[in-house]
């Protein structure tokens, strides 16, 4: 993960018309965003589409980034908005059906914890809002304040969602056979 100041600097240069800075920003910020989408959308194809659509949208509204402000909350706010629009238009119902199928598979395999945990499947047990907060806090390593800005909510609300999400995830992992030894472990 690049230091925030570097991303801020690249964004400023991109606003100034620097193509190299735009390319560097796309290279550095996209993996984070793609991972976030994968954790939420469950499909690589959807994540690829969303990533493209996000950058197109971001390009149109790049003037709304204010110099001196942090890049990540602004970036994720636009990405989040793009994802919400995308879901409404296209694959929401199908992916929910997929998520339900994946939960069933995970529960059936509870006696044999896998070496590699299926993250999108795990996070799909959470309601939309909690899933989003956990993904941003833990996968993108954003601060609570950044997540609050990106989701237009309060810090208290973000903390509450994270707390509830963690309680639910603990229960789910326990039912799958994961204990305090963590990934692949059984107590």
């Amino acid at each position: 993960m690049e230091p925030d100041s570097e991303l801020d600097e690249l964004m400023l240069r991109y606003q100034g018309g620097d193509r190299d800075a735009a390319t560097a920003l796309i290279q550095r910020a996209s993996p984070l965003l793609h991972r976030l989408f994968r954790a939420q959308t469950l499909s690589r194809e959807s994540a690829d589409d969303l990533l493209q659509e996000t950058w197109l949208r971001l390009h149109k509204v790049r003037h709304t980034y204010r110099p001196g402000e942090r890049f990540l909350p602004w970036f994720y706010a636009i990405a989040r908005h793009t994802r919400i629009d995308y879901y409404r238009r296209t694959r929401r119902i199908r992916e929910r059906e997929e998520a339900v199928d994946r939960i069933s598979e995970m529960s059936a395999d509870a006696r044999e914890p896998k070496a590699t945990l299926d993250l999108p499947g795990l996070l799909s047990v959470l309601p939309e809002g909690q899933r989003e907060v956990v993904a941003m806090l833990k996968l993108s390593e954003m601060s609570v304040e950044d997540v609050a800005r990106a989701t237009s909510s309060s810090i208290g609300s973000v903390k509450q969602k994270a707390h509830r999400a963690y309680a639910k995830l603990r229960t789910t992992l326990a039912s799958m056979g994961y204990r305090q030894t963590g990934l692949g472990g059984r107590k």
């Binding site: 290279q27 509204v61 238009r89």
Partner: protein, 231 residues
């Protein structure tokens, strides 16, 4: 399982997700390439807020000039000070909230919070300052004030939306709520300058209703915009 354990599980699982293909990133860079040009960033939030405030103030004074300044003339100096200090403050707060609604990733929490604070502050103001609980011509006078306030709210809201047109509302419903609240407060401010009915029920119901209705209409307009954009 402790939080650090869970963090570790999530991190390891996340690291196993393959990233985007380099070809995809090149395609994205290529699609933007030709249209990358310098753009003028939005002005600082405070500067925009001041601009919004001046626009709303000008519309409020223009509206009161047309209808008359009877209301403010009949208040005593203490009432004038308190009423307009509070109205000015919540108008400023609503302006900041509207600007944030059009600036992705802004701090400040959800837009509804600023709207709720504005409405509660207005109610508290009227309840604290005006103590005549008569009901003379409650409906007839009330409807006149409501219509006048909403007309001015619509003009102020439209002017604010134009002033913020370069922004981008990630949540159009929230942005509509913020603009509607701002317009409604401008309408209420005009009524404080003009309206000579100082009965508490009249102020608490009809002057506050201007803000509530305007905020609701703004939110509805935002929701319609959001649905259309999602198609």
């Amino acid at each position: 399982m402790t939080d650090p354990n869970l963090d570790d599980v999530l991190r390891r699982a996340a690291n196993s997700i393959p990233g985007p293909e380099p070809a995809l990133l090149e395609r994205i860079s290529g699609s933007l390439g030709e249209s990358i040009s310098p753009v003028r960033p939005l002005p600082p939030a405070r500067s925009l807020a001041f601009r919004l405030f001046l626009i709303c103030a000008a519309i409020v004074i223009a509206g009161a000039s047309l209808l008359g300044f009877g209301g403010v003339r009949q208040m005593n100096p203490a009432e004038v000070f308190v009423v307009f200090a509070v109205v000015t403050s919540i108008l400023w707060l609503a302006g900041i909230s509207a600007i944030r609604a059009f600036s992705p990733g802004s701090a400040g929490g959800p837009a509804w919070r600023a709207s709720a604070i504005s409405i509660v502050a207005l109610i508290a103001l009227f309840a604290a300052v005006f103590h005549n609980y008569g009901w003379n011509r409650f409906l007839a006078q009330g409807l006149i004030c409501l219509v006048a306030g909403l007309v001015l709210a619509a003009v102020s809201g439209a002017a604010a939306a134009i002033a913020l047109r370069r922004g981008f509302a990630v949540n159009p419903t929230a942005a509509g709520l913020a603009i509607g609240t701002l317009g409604g407060l401008a309408g209420a401010a005009m009524l404080e300058l003009h309206c000579v009915d100082f009965h508490a029920p009249h102020l608490l119901v009809w002057h506050t209703a201007v803000v509530l209705v305007s905020a609701a209409v703004g939110a509805a307009a935002g929701a319609i915009t959001e649905r259309r954009r999602s198609r």
